[in-house]
Amino acid sequence: MDTTTTTQPTVELPRLLPGDFAIWFFIFAELLVFAIAFISYSVMRIQNVEMFNQYQLTLNRELGAANTLLLITASYFVVRAIHAIRIDDVKSCVRWLYLSLGCGSGFLLLKSLEYYEKFSHGINLSTNTFYMFYLSLTMFHFLHVILGMIILLAIAIKAQRGGYTAQDHIGIETGASYWHMVDLVWIILFPLVYIIR
């Protein structure tokens, strides 16, 4: 009888992507679109450096920076919500999600003030190339913030109704991944459009 024992080598498998697998294709497609927009802005700037530098100074950097702080904080709150649901703390999870929505609302409010300031001075998409990029890039992102907030609100309501547990919270991870993508895009957009000159 063979008494020797053989130990199987353990193979460490990669972790699964958080949330629904399909959302990652959507996120990556969105990131590609924004990448093309960022590179287009940068290429157009080569031909219009003076114009881009001149009109960049008319942007409200304070609001841009405040919006960056709001989005980073909103992402942090979403991470806290996921950590809370993983220990079945539904109440904290819901609270963090609503706090995140509060930050998102703050972003929309400040951005709307910025647009109001520009539109009241007669600035629009056809004013010049810089404003065309500034308005189209930030408005496209603005729409993503709105979509992200709708997703977070739906998740918060479902969580409030007891729809998620420590064992089953894939929906929260899916929504959180999308929201982080919105944050990720703004982290590049802010220095590119408001600061770099």
């Binding site: 972790r15 080569i46 960056t68 992402s75 982290i187 590049i188 220095p191 600061i195 770099i196």
Partner: protein
Amino acid sequence: MNKLYNIHTLWLGMLLLTLTTYAIGKLGYSGVVVVSFLLITAAAKAVFIIRDFMELRGVSLLWRVMMYGWLLIVVAGIAITYLLSL
């Protein structure tokens, strides 16, 4: 949880980096060194978001290459076009 490297310290770190970016803009600094610093700062924040907030640390190599590759192409594209504009 690591005392120095966790989501709380990363959040505070990203807020500080954002304020630094704002201060550079407010003071009107520009040039290759400044823009390099701004891009490295933005890339660092983006890595924190991808790795620690999106929790892509340890997922399949393909997805990490796709996400960090996206970041690299965007940052390199901005840097190269900036140099061409000088």
